[in-house]
Symmetry: C2
């Protein structure tokens, strides 16, 4: 890639999106954020499986194979960087005025490649976790998928930054823990991992799925999807979060609690890193 | 305007938006839909007041005067059409990767002008009102403002169309009436108008405000903001909805109820039309 960023629209190098577009008008679309290592989009199948769940939920026509090809083509340009990030956005494309989607939509894709300064060694350092004031609203019809309606996360991220924290906990309207602002939360207690169930809000992260299916079992741990309270995090032996860019990140501070060691998170991170080949 | 649509980006005639843009990435922005009559943007102050509430809620820098100027300039091009629609979109502009907004955002504006076939006489015909399956999620931090996160309305509009209806009722998670998909609902009973309170979801419509402050009082009616149940609509003497494009639209069918006459909605519509000068 030339410079630190490159953008493709519908597979062509462009730096602008034709208007009107329902992705801009209504957030009518989906996205995925993929980590690349030496031009290889990691865990691409897991990303595309979630994308397909979103396409189905929003009633988009089939665009999965096109998305895969555009990701692969864009990724190939990143081979001179050890690490890079690829964001794929799929919108419902143009449409007439009004909320109702066109009966025959022509989705558009935007792919953005960004070089990443990534120090895998640094990932072991625990972060300071804040608490977002804004809640995740409950919406079963959109829970789990990674759609473009992300104002709650935008406002939460600003609040957490105001608190001097790198990440934050988001709660649902009843005060139950949903996730980190940009990732999924896990805690360890009595030899088992727990993560919030996401039936009515939150994003079902790719690393959350891989951790539950692959990395946790590989070190003999089960992952339970539960109703999680703030008190569960505070009483935990370890807390960490997962996302596509950081992988697995331990929490060092939350509320008045300080965790100085994160042996389970570190073991899981090594399993993860071994898979980032 | 040339053709049926014209678009301006940051005040310049363009047909594309520079990427990246947080409006596309996260729905990080706001919009207003204005009705124009002979190039005059109707009730522009009411629209700009709501826009300002949204700008404040999202923590945008001041862009109101710039938005007003761009609307006025775009509107001037529509003078050869009796009616037209102007959509203003304000996004937080470009930004680095990640949810957290840039500390110093440079918002962008997109203005789209569309000619409108509008027959004021036809507005008296009542519509068939459906019931959206998807609920309006409760989010006090975003209630009332017209932000770009509109997937719930997109899915609701598709469901209502499936039902063969022109509009639909949206409920909150507890089953209380919020609004129409693209408008605010009112019902008449015992000589008073009632409309759902919008403290935790919905958009506070410009025509809703004008009807309560101006048109209803002018015919001796008070408007009460209430908790509204489906049963209240079914038992009403009249039901209608308001939005910026249609003004005031009576409901002829909802559930098993048929209203054949809408004398109050018609009187209100005449007040409204007299103000569309």
């Amino acid at each position: 890639m030339g410079g630190d960023t490159a953008i493709w629209v519908n597979g062509t190098r462009e730096s602008a999106l034709d208007l009107p577009d329902r992705g801009l008008d209504y957030g009518d679309g989906l996205f995925e954020t993929l980590l690349l290592r030496r031009g290889n989009p990691l865990f691409i199948d897991t990303h595309l499986q979630r994308l397909q769940r979103g396409l189905t939920a929003l009633g988009f026509p089939a665009v999965l194979e096109r998305a895969r090809q555009e990701l692969q083509r864009a990724a190939a340009g990143a081979g001179d960087h050890e690490w890079a990030v690829l964001r794929l956005t799929v919108t419902r494309g143009a449409g007439p005025r009004g909320y109702a989607p066109p009966e025959r939509a022509a989705p558009r894709t935007v792919v953005r490649l960004t070089a990443l300064e990534y120090d895998a060694g640094q990932q072991g350092e625990g972060v300071r976790l804040g608490l977002a004031d804004i809640r995740c609203s409950a919406q079963p019809a959109l829970a789990g998928i990674k759609h473009l309606n992300r104002l709650e996360q935008v406002l939460a991220a600003a609040q957490v930054r105001e608190q001097g924290c790198e990440e934050g906990v988001m709660l649902d309207p009843s005060g139950t823990v949903v996730s980190a602002v940009a990732g999924n939360l896990f805690y360890l207690r009595d030899g088992a991992l727990h993560t919030p169930a996401l039936g009515h809000c939150g994003v079902a992260g790719t690393r959350r799925a891989l951790l539950a299916q692959r990395w946790a079992p590989s070190i003999g741990l089960a992952v339970h999807e539960d109703s999680v309270a703030i008190e569960d995090l505070l009483a935990a032996e370890e807390v960490f979060y997962t996302n596509a860019v950081q992988g697995i990140r331990p929490v060092a501070h939350f509320g008045r609690v300080h965790w100085s060691a994160h042996p389970v998170a570190q073991r899981l991170f090594r399993c993860y890193l071994a898979d980032c080949a």
